[in-house]
Amino acid sequence: MKPAVERQVVLPWTQVVRISFNALRARLFRSLITTATLVLAGAFVAYTFAGYAILNGLWPHAPAELKEKILSSGYESFAGSFGSTPKDRWLIALSLLVCTVGIVNAQLMAVTERFREIGTLKCLGALDSFVIKLFVLEAAYQGLLGGALGSLLGVMVSTGTLFIKFGTGVLRHWPVGHLAWIVCWNTGLAMVLSFTGVLYPAWVAARMEPALALRTEQ
Protein backbone atom coordinates (compact mmCIF):
# COMPACT_ATOMS: atom_id res chain seq x y z
CA MET A 1 0.00 0.00 0.00
CA LYS A 2 1.21 3.48 -0.79
CA PRO A 3 1.88 5.53 2.31
CA ALA A 4 -0.85 8.09 2.97
CA VAL A 5 1.63 10.93 2.99
CA GLU A 6 4.74 11.14 0.85
CA ARG A 7 7.64 13.57 0.90
CA GLN A 8 7.53 16.69 -1.21
CA VAL A 9 10.10 16.78 -4.01
CA VAL A 10 12.77 19.46 -3.96
CA LEU A 11 12.29 21.71 -6.96
CA PRO A 12 15.16 21.57 -9.47
CA TRP A 13 17.33 24.68 -9.70
CA THR A 14 16.25 25.37 -13.27
CA GLN A 15 12.69 25.93 -12.10
CA VAL A 16 13.77 28.06 -9.14
CA VAL A 17 15.95 30.17 -11.44
CA ARG A 18 13.07 30.64 -13.87
CA ILE A 19 10.56 31.56 -11.16
CA SER A 20 12.91 33.94 -9.35
CA PHE A 21 13.95 35.63 -12.59
CA ASN A 22 10.33 36.23 -13.58
CA ALA A 23 9.49 37.45 -10.08
CA LEU A 24 12.29 39.97 -10.26
CA ARG A 25 11.36 41.11 -13.75
CA ALA A 26 7.76 41.63 -12.69
CA ARG A 27 8.87 43.83 -9.81
CA LEU A 28 11.58 45.60 -11.74
CA PHE A 29 11.12 49.10 -10.35
CA ARG A 30 11.01 47.92 -6.74
CA SER A 31 14.15 45.85 -7.15
CA LEU A 32 15.97 48.63 -8.99
CA ILE A 33 15.84 50.69 -5.80
CA THR A 34 17.65 47.92 -3.93
CA THR A 35 20.00 47.58 -6.87
CA ALA A 36 20.73 51.31 -6.77
CA THR A 37 22.32 50.89 -3.33
CA LEU A 38 24.68 48.34 -4.82
CA VAL A 39 25.38 50.48 -7.87
CA LEU A 40 26.45 53.40 -5.69
CA ALA A 41 28.66 51.35 -3.36
CA GLY A 42 30.14 49.47 -6.31
CA ALA A 43 30.79 52.69 -8.19
CA PHE A 44 32.63 54.18 -5.22
CA VAL A 45 34.90 51.15 -4.81
CA ALA A 46 35.56 50.90 -8.54
CA TYR A 47 36.21 54.64 -8.79
CA THR A 48 38.87 54.48 -6.10
CA PHE A 49 40.75 51.48 -7.44
CA ALA A 50 40.35 52.33 -11.13
CA GLY A 51 41.92 55.74 -10.44
CA TYR A 52 45.09 54.14 -9.08
CA ALA A 53 45.15 51.56 -11.88
CA ILE A 54 44.93 54.29 -14.52
CA LEU A 55 47.69 56.32 -12.85
CA ASN A 56 49.88 53.21 -12.70
CA GLY A 57 49.29 52.70 -16.41
CA LEU A 58 50.12 56.30 -17.18
CA TRP A 59 53.11 56.81 -14.87
CA PRO A 60 55.90 55.00 -16.80
CA HIS A 61 54.97 56.85 -19.99
CA ALA A 62 54.42 60.28 -18.41
CA PRO A 63 56.84 63.14 -19.18
CA ALA A 64 58.49 64.81 -16.21
CA GLU A 65 56.12 67.78 -16.01
CA LEU A 66 53.07 65.49 -16.03
CA LYS A 67 54.62 63.44 -13.21
CA GLU A 68 55.11 66.65 -11.34
CA LYS A 69 51.48 67.58 -11.96
CA ILE A 70 50.21 64.20 -10.76
CA LEU A 71 52.20 64.35 -7.54
CA SER A 72 51.28 67.96 -6.88
CA SER A 73 47.57 67.21 -7.26
CA GLY A 74 47.71 65.07 -4.16
CA TYR A 75 48.43 61.50 -5.36
CA GLU A 76 51.11 59.73 -3.39
CA SER A 77 53.46 57.35 -5.10
CA PHE A 78 55.04 54.50 -3.16
CA ALA A 79 58.20 53.35 -4.92
CA GLY A 80 56.85 54.44 -8.30
CA SER A 81 53.36 52.96 -8.01
CA PHE A 82 50.05 54.19 -6.74
CA GLY A 83 47.80 52.31 -4.34
CA SER A 84 44.99 52.79 -1.88
CA THR A 85 45.81 54.71 1.27
CA PRO A 86 44.55 53.68 4.72
CA LYS A 87 42.04 56.50 4.44
CA ASP A 88 40.69 55.06 1.18
CA ARG A 89 40.32 51.67 2.75
CA TRP A 90 38.46 53.12 5.69
CA LEU A 91 36.05 54.93 3.43
CA ILE A 92 35.49 51.80 1.36
CA ALA A 93 34.87 49.64 4.43
CA LEU A 94 32.39 52.17 5.77
CA SER A 95 30.57 52.55 2.47
CA LEU A 96 30.24 48.78 2.13
CA LEU A 97 28.91 48.53 5.68
CA VAL A 98 26.32 51.22 5.02
CA CYS A 99 25.40 49.48 1.78
CA THR A 100 24.86 46.12 3.52
CA VAL A 101 22.68 47.66 6.20
CA GLY A 102 20.70 49.39 3.45
CA ILE A 103 20.18 46.08 1.66
CA VAL A 104 19.02 44.32 4.84
CA ASN A 105 16.55 47.15 5.33
CA ALA A 106 15.28 47.03 1.75
CA GLN A 107 15.00 43.25 1.72
CA LEU A 108 13.15 43.14 5.05
CA MET A 109 10.67 45.57 3.51
CA ALA A 110 10.41 43.37 0.43
CA VAL A 111 9.72 40.32 2.61
CA THR A 112 7.04 42.18 4.55
CA GLU A 113 5.40 43.29 1.33
CA ARG A 114 5.40 39.70 0.15
CA PHE A 115 4.19 38.01 3.36
CA ARG A 116 0.94 36.99 1.73
CA GLU A 117 2.66 35.74 -1.38
CA ILE A 118 5.05 33.64 0.69
CA GLY A 119 2.15 32.22 2.71
CA THR A 120 0.33 31.35 -0.49
CA LEU A 121 3.41 29.67 -1.96
CA LYS A 122 3.67 27.54 1.17
CA CYS A 123 0.00 26.56 0.91
CA LEU A 124 0.65 25.42 -2.64
CA GLY A 125 3.45 23.15 -1.48
CA ALA A 126 6.60 25.29 -1.42
CA LEU A 127 9.32 24.09 0.93
CA ASP A 128 11.17 26.48 3.25
CA SER A 129 14.28 25.92 1.17
CA PHE A 130 12.43 27.10 -1.94
CA VAL A 131 11.54 30.41 -0.27
CA ILE A 132 15.18 30.89 0.76
CA LYS A 133 16.43 30.04 -2.73
CA LEU A 134 13.93 32.44 -4.25
CA PHE A 135 15.15 35.38 -2.20
CA VAL A 136 18.82 34.49 -2.45
CA LEU A 137 18.64 34.15 -6.23
CA GLU A 138 16.81 37.43 -6.60
CA ALA A 139 19.53 39.01 -4.48
CA ALA A 140 22.21 37.41 -6.64
CA TYR A 141 20.70 38.92 -9.80
CA GLN A 142 20.52 42.28 -8.10
CA GLY A 143 24.12 41.92 -6.98
CA LEU A 144 25.24 41.00 -10.48
CA LEU A 145 23.38 43.85 -12.13
CA GLY A 146 24.19 46.44 -9.45
CA GLY A 147 27.82 45.38 -9.21
CA ALA A 148 28.41 45.40 -12.96
CA LEU A 149 26.66 48.73 -13.51
CA GLY A 150 28.38 50.28 -10.49
CA SER A 151 31.81 49.06 -11.54
CA LEU A 152 31.41 50.38 -15.07
CA LEU A 153 30.13 53.67 -13.73
CA GLY A 154 33.07 53.93 -11.32
CA VAL A 155 35.62 53.18 -14.05
CA MET A 156 33.99 55.67 -16.39
CA VAL A 157 33.86 58.48 -13.86
CA SER A 158 37.41 57.75 -12.77
CA THR A 159 38.66 57.79 -16.37
CA GLY A 160 36.73 60.96 -17.07
CA THR A 161 38.04 62.93 -14.11
CA LEU A 162 41.64 61.85 -14.69
CA PHE A 163 41.32 62.65 -18.39
CA ILE A 164 40.22 66.16 -17.53
CA LYS A 165 43.05 66.55 -15.04
CA PHE A 166 45.94 64.95 -16.91
CA GLY A 167 45.00 64.89 -20.59
CA THR A 168 44.95 62.29 -23.35
CA GLY A 169 47.77 60.20 -21.89
CA VAL A 170 45.16 58.72 -19.58
CA LEU A 171 43.34 57.20 -22.55
CA ARG A 172 46.46 56.20 -24.48
CA HIS A 173 47.79 54.16 -21.58
CA TRP A 174 44.43 53.00 -20.30
CA PRO A 175 45.11 49.67 -18.51
CA VAL A 176 42.31 47.58 -20.03
CA GLY A 177 43.27 44.29 -18.39
CA HIS A 178 43.67 45.74 -14.95
CA LEU A 179 40.40 47.66 -15.16
CA ALA A 180 38.52 44.59 -16.40
CA TRP A 181 39.88 42.71 -13.42
CA ILE A 182 38.60 45.47 -11.10
CA VAL A 183 35.14 45.29 -12.71
CA CYS A 184 35.11 41.52 -12.22
CA TRP A 185 36.06 41.35 -8.57
CA ASN A 186 33.98 44.37 -7.73
CA THR A 187 30.91 42.72 -9.27
CA GLY A 188 31.68 39.62 -7.24
CA LEU A 189 31.96 41.78 -4.13
CA ALA A 190 28.54 43.32 -4.81
CA MET A 191 27.04 39.84 -5.14
CA VAL A 192 28.56 38.83 -1.81
CA LEU A 193 27.13 41.99 -0.19
CA SER A 194 23.71 41.39 -1.70
CA PHE A 195 23.80 37.78 -0.56
CA THR A 196 24.86 38.75 2.98
CA GLY A 197 22.11 41.34 3.14
CA VAL A 198 19.33 38.97 2.11
CA LEU A 199 20.19 36.03 4.39
CA TYR A 200 18.37 37.21 7.47
CA PRO A 201 15.26 38.48 5.60
CA ALA A 202 15.07 35.22 3.63
CA TRP A 203 15.32 33.21 6.82
CA VAL A 204 12.49 35.23 8.37
CA ALA A 205 10.35 34.63 5.28
CA ALA A 206 11.03 30.91 5.10
CA ARG A 207 10.28 30.15 8.73
CA MET A 208 6.84 31.75 8.77
CA GLU A 209 3.82 29.55 9.36
CA PRO A 210 1.56 29.91 6.32
CA ALA A 211 -1.44 30.79 8.51
CA LEU A 212 0.46 33.73 9.97
CA ALA A 213 1.51 34.94 6.54
CA LEU A 214 -2.04 34.78 5.23
CA ARG A 215 -3.47 36.67 8.18
CA THR A 216 -1.51 39.82 7.47
CA GLU A 217 -3.44 42.59 5.80
CA GLN A 218 -2.29 43.51 2.35
Binding site: M1, A4, V5, E6, R7, Q8, V9, L11, Q15, I19, N22, A23, A26, R27, R116, E117, G119, T120, L121, K122, C123, L124, G125, A126, L127, D128, F130, E209, P210, A211, L212, L214, Q218
Partner: protein
Amino acid sequence: MIDNGTHNVVRLVDVVKVFRMGQQEVRALKGINLAIRSGEYLSIMGPSGSGKSTLFNMIGALDKPTSGRVFIDEVDVSQLDAYELAWLRCRKIGYIFQTFNLIQVMTAMENVTLPMIFAGMSRDEYVEKGMELLQLVGLAERYQHKPPELSGGQQQRVAIARALANDPAIILADEPTGNLDLATGEEIIGLLKRLSAERGVTIISATHDIKMLNVSDRVVWIRDGMVDRIEDREELKITVGEVG
Protein backbone atom coordinates in the same frame (compact mmCIF):
# COMPACT_ATOMS: atom_id res chain seq x y z
CA MET B 1 -7.59 1.77 2.48
CA ILE B 2 -11.33 2.01 2.88
CA ASP B 3 -12.66 3.59 -0.25
CA ASN B 4 -16.39 3.30 -0.05
CA GLY B 5 -16.63 7.07 0.01
CA THR B 6 -17.59 7.26 3.64
CA HIS B 7 -14.29 7.27 5.53
CA ASN B 8 -13.24 10.36 7.39
CA VAL B 9 -10.96 12.60 5.37
CA VAL B 10 -10.53 14.98 8.26
CA ARG B 11 -10.91 14.27 11.94
CA LEU B 12 -10.34 16.73 14.76
CA VAL B 13 -9.97 15.52 18.33
CA ASP B 14 -10.20 18.01 21.22
CA VAL B 15 -8.52 20.74 19.20
CA VAL B 16 -7.63 23.79 21.27
CA LYS B 17 -5.92 26.89 19.92
CA VAL B 18 -4.70 29.67 22.15
CA PHE B 19 -3.27 32.88 20.77
CA ARG B 20 -1.02 34.94 22.96
CA MET B 21 -1.40 38.64 22.42
CA GLY B 22 1.00 40.39 24.76
CA GLN B 23 -0.23 39.62 28.28
CA GLN B 24 -3.59 38.35 27.12
CA GLU B 25 -4.47 34.83 26.13
CA VAL B 26 -7.21 34.41 23.57
CA ARG B 27 -8.77 30.97 23.36
CA ALA B 28 -9.87 30.87 19.73
CA LEU B 29 -10.81 27.20 19.76
CA LYS B 30 -11.96 25.51 22.95
CA GLY B 31 -11.95 21.82 22.21
CA ILE B 32 -13.36 21.03 18.77
CA ASN B 33 -14.36 17.49 17.86
CA LEU B 34 -15.33 17.00 14.27
CA ALA B 35 -15.29 14.26 11.65
CA ILE B 36 -15.64 15.15 8.00
CA ARG B 37 -16.67 12.38 5.61
CA SER B 38 -15.13 11.85 2.23
CA GLY B 39 -17.02 13.48 -0.61
CA GLU B 40 -19.32 15.67 1.42
CA TYR B 41 -19.93 19.38 1.04
CA LEU B 42 -19.52 20.82 4.49
CA SER B 43 -20.04 24.39 5.51
CA ILE B 44 -18.66 25.88 8.68
CA MET B 45 -20.95 28.71 9.68
CA GLY B 46 -20.53 31.24 12.40
CA PRO B 47 -20.26 34.95 13.09
CA SER B 48 -16.91 36.64 12.61
CA GLY B 49 -14.63 36.12 15.59
CA SER B 50 -16.19 32.73 16.32
CA GLY B 51 -12.97 30.88 15.47
CA LYS B 52 -14.01 29.91 11.94
CA SER B 53 -10.80 30.94 10.26
CA THR B 54 -8.69 29.40 13.02
CA LEU B 55 -10.56 26.15 12.54
CA PHE B 56 -10.00 26.47 8.79
CA ASN B 57 -6.25 26.79 9.38
CA MET B 58 -6.28 23.69 11.62
CA ILE B 59 -8.11 21.58 9.05
CA GLY B 60 -5.78 22.79 6.33
CA ALA B 61 -2.60 22.01 8.30
CA LEU B 62 -1.64 25.66 8.01
CA ASP B 63 -1.22 26.13 11.75
CA LYS B 64 -0.52 23.88 14.71
CA PRO B 65 -3.12 23.37 17.45
CA THR B 66 -2.07 24.25 21.00
CA SER B 67 -3.43 20.88 22.07
CA GLY B 68 -5.48 18.13 20.50
CA ARG B 69 -4.98 16.29 17.25
CA VAL B 70 -5.80 16.83 13.61
CA PHE B 71 -5.97 13.80 11.32
CA ILE B 72 -6.04 14.12 7.56
CA ASP B 73 -6.79 10.79 5.89
CA GLU B 74 -6.22 9.29 9.34
CA VAL B 75 -2.65 10.62 9.47
CA ASP B 76 -1.80 12.73 12.51
CA VAL B 77 -0.61 16.05 11.06
CA SER B 78 1.57 16.83 14.09
CA GLN B 79 3.70 13.78 13.30
CA LEU B 80 4.65 15.03 9.84
CA ASP B 81 7.96 16.70 9.02
CA ALA B 82 8.30 19.77 6.79
CA TYR B 83 8.60 17.75 3.59
CA GLU B 84 5.54 15.67 4.34
CA LEU B 85 3.55 18.75 5.33
CA ALA B 86 4.47 20.46 2.07
CA TRP B 87 3.43 17.34 0.17
CA LEU B 88 0.11 17.26 2.02
CA ARG B 89 -0.58 20.93 1.25
CA CYS B 90 0.45 20.42 -2.34
CA ARG B 91 -1.35 17.17 -3.20
CA LYS B 92 -4.10 16.49 -0.69
CA ILE B 93 -5.59 19.90 -0.09
CA GLY B 94 -6.59 22.73 -2.40
CA TYR B 95 -7.01 26.13 -0.78
CA ILE B 96 -9.38 28.90 -1.76
CA PHE B 97 -9.26 32.21 0.10
CA GLN B 98 -11.56 35.14 0.62
CA THR B 99 -8.89 37.45 -0.79
CA PHE B 100 -8.13 35.04 -3.69
CA ASN B 101 -4.39 35.16 -2.90
CA LEU B 102 -3.24 34.79 -6.46
CA ILE B 103 0.39 35.68 -7.03
CA GLN B 104 -0.03 39.17 -8.42
CA VAL B 105 3.01 39.11 -10.69
CA MET B 106 2.08 35.85 -12.39
CA THR B 107 -0.43 35.22 -15.17
CA ALA B 108 -3.56 33.11 -14.64
CA MET B 109 -1.80 30.20 -16.31
CA GLU B 110 1.31 30.53 -14.14
CA ASN B 111 -0.83 30.73 -11.02
CA VAL B 112 -2.71 27.56 -11.93
CA THR B 113 0.42 25.61 -12.88
CA LEU B 114 2.46 26.57 -9.82
CA PRO B 115 1.20 23.72 -7.57
CA MET B 116 1.97 21.27 -10.37
CA ILE B 117 5.50 22.65 -10.71
CA PHE B 118 5.90 22.17 -6.96
CA ALA B 119 4.62 18.62 -7.39
CA GLY B 120 7.41 17.93 -9.87
CA MET B 121 5.32 17.57 -13.04
CA SER B 122 6.96 17.99 -16.43
CA ARG B 123 6.37 21.15 -18.45
CA ASP B 124 4.21 19.49 -21.09
CA GLU B 125 2.01 17.89 -18.47
CA TYR B 126 1.42 21.01 -16.43
CA VAL B 127 0.81 23.28 -19.40
CA GLU B 128 -1.81 20.88 -20.76
CA LYS B 129 -3.50 20.39 -17.42
CA GLY B 130 -3.37 24.11 -16.66
CA MET B 131 -5.24 24.82 -19.86
CA GLU B 132 -7.82 22.11 -19.06
CA LEU B 133 -8.42 23.58 -15.62
CA LEU B 134 -8.80 27.11 -16.95
CA GLN B 135 -11.30 25.75 -19.48
CA LEU B 136 -13.16 24.06 -16.65
CA VAL B 137 -13.64 27.38 -14.86
CA GLY B 138 -14.36 29.16 -18.14
CA LEU B 139 -11.25 31.32 -18.35
CA ALA B 140 -9.26 29.57 -21.06
CA GLU B 141 -9.04 32.64 -23.27
CA ARG B 142 -7.73 34.75 -20.40
CA TYR B 143 -4.80 32.53 -19.50
CA GLN B 144 -2.26 35.28 -20.11
CA HIS B 145 -3.95 37.87 -17.93
CA LYS B 146 -2.51 38.82 -14.58
CA PRO B 147 -4.77 39.09 -11.51
CA PRO B 148 -5.03 42.92 -11.62
CA GLU B 149 -6.52 42.58 -15.11
CA LEU B 150 -9.23 40.19 -13.94
CA SER B 151 -12.46 40.86 -12.06
CA GLY B 152 -13.00 39.51 -8.53
CA GLY B 153 -15.12 36.63 -9.78
CA GLN B 154 -12.59 35.75 -12.46
CA GLN B 155 -9.75 35.85 -9.94
CA GLN B 156 -11.66 33.50 -7.66
CA ARG B 157 -12.23 31.14 -10.57
CA VAL B 158 -8.50 31.12 -11.29
CA ALA B 159 -7.99 30.34 -7.59
CA ILE B 160 -10.42 27.43 -7.86
CA ALA B 161 -8.58 26.11 -10.91
CA ARG B 162 -5.34 26.42 -8.95
CA ALA B 163 -6.85 24.58 -5.98
CA LEU B 164 -7.76 21.69 -8.31
CA ALA B 165 -4.30 21.50 -9.89
CA ASN B 166 -3.07 18.33 -8.19
CA ASP B 167 -6.47 16.64 -7.92
CA PRO B 168 -6.75 17.13 -4.16
CA ALA B 169 -9.08 15.04 -2.05
CA ILE B 170 -10.12 18.11 -0.09
CA ILE B 171 -10.90 21.66 -1.12
CA LEU B 172 -10.80 24.14 1.71
CA ALA B 173 -12.51 27.42 1.07
CA ASP B 174 -12.28 30.29 3.55
CA GLU B 175 -15.15 32.69 2.87
CA PRO B 176 -14.87 32.11 -0.89
CA THR B 177 -17.72 34.51 -1.62
CA GLY B 178 -16.77 37.11 1.00
CA ASN B 179 -15.30 39.59 -1.47
CA LEU B 180 -17.75 38.98 -4.31
CA ASP B 181 -21.10 40.45 -5.23
CA LEU B 182 -24.27 38.36 -4.93
CA ALA B 183 -24.45 37.03 -8.49
CA THR B 184 -20.73 36.25 -8.73
CA GLY B 185 -20.86 34.61 -5.32
CA GLU B 186 -23.67 32.36 -6.48
CA GLU B 187 -21.69 31.46 -9.58
CA ILE B 188 -18.72 30.43 -7.44
CA ILE B 189 -20.93 28.38 -5.11
CA GLY B 190 -22.44 26.68 -8.14
CA LEU B 191 -18.98 25.87 -9.45
CA LEU B 192 -17.91 24.39 -6.11
CA LYS B 193 -21.06 22.30 -5.92
CA ARG B 194 -20.49 21.02 -9.44
CA LEU B 195 -16.94 20.02 -8.56
CA SER B 196 -18.09 18.20 -5.48
CA ALA B 197 -20.74 16.32 -7.46
CA GLU B 198 -18.65 15.55 -10.56
CA ARG B 199 -15.27 14.86 -9.02
CA GLY B 200 -16.25 13.62 -5.59
CA VAL B 201 -14.01 16.19 -3.93
CA THR B 202 -14.68 16.91 -0.29
CA ILE B 203 -15.47 20.59 0.02
CA ILE B 204 -15.06 22.32 3.35
CA SER B 205 -16.05 25.92 3.37
CA ALA B 206 -15.90 28.44 6.18
CA THR B 207 -18.54 31.05 5.52
CA HIS B 208 -21.26 33.25 6.82
CA ASP B 209 -22.96 33.37 3.47
CA ILE B 210 -26.49 31.97 3.84
CA LYS B 211 -26.49 31.01 0.13
CA MET B 212 -23.99 28.30 0.99
CA LEU B 213 -26.61 26.48 3.08
CA ASN B 214 -28.63 25.35 0.09
CA VAL B 215 -25.76 23.39 -1.44
CA SER B 216 -24.20 21.98 1.75
CA ASP B 217 -24.65 18.37 2.81
CA ARG B 218 -23.92 19.32 6.39
CA VAL B 219 -23.49 22.56 8.25
CA VAL B 220 -21.35 22.96 11.33
CA TRP B 221 -22.26 25.96 13.43
CA ILE B 222 -19.38 27.42 15.38
CA ARG B 223 -19.94 29.74 18.27
CA ASP B 224 -17.34 31.09 20.62
CA GLY B 225 -14.68 28.55 19.67
CA MET B 226 -16.94 25.53 20.09
CA VAL B 227 -19.16 23.42 17.87
CA ASP B 228 -22.63 24.76 18.59
CA ARG B 229 -24.53 22.22 16.48
CA ILE B 230 -24.20 20.14 13.34
CA GLU B 231 -27.12 19.91 10.96
CA ASP B 232 -27.78 17.67 7.99
CA ARG B 233 -29.35 19.05 4.87
CA GLU B 234 -32.81 17.66 5.66
CA GLU B 235 -32.95 19.43 9.00
CA LEU B 236 -31.58 22.55 7.37
CA LYS B 237 -34.48 22.99 5.02
CA ILE B 238 -36.76 23.18 8.02
CA THR B 239 -34.57 25.75 9.75
CA VAL B 240 -34.21 27.84 6.63
CA GLY B 241 -37.92 27.50 6.06
CA GLU B 242 -38.59 28.83 9.52
CA VAL B 243 -36.30 31.77 8.98
CA GLY B 244 -37.83 32.47 5.57
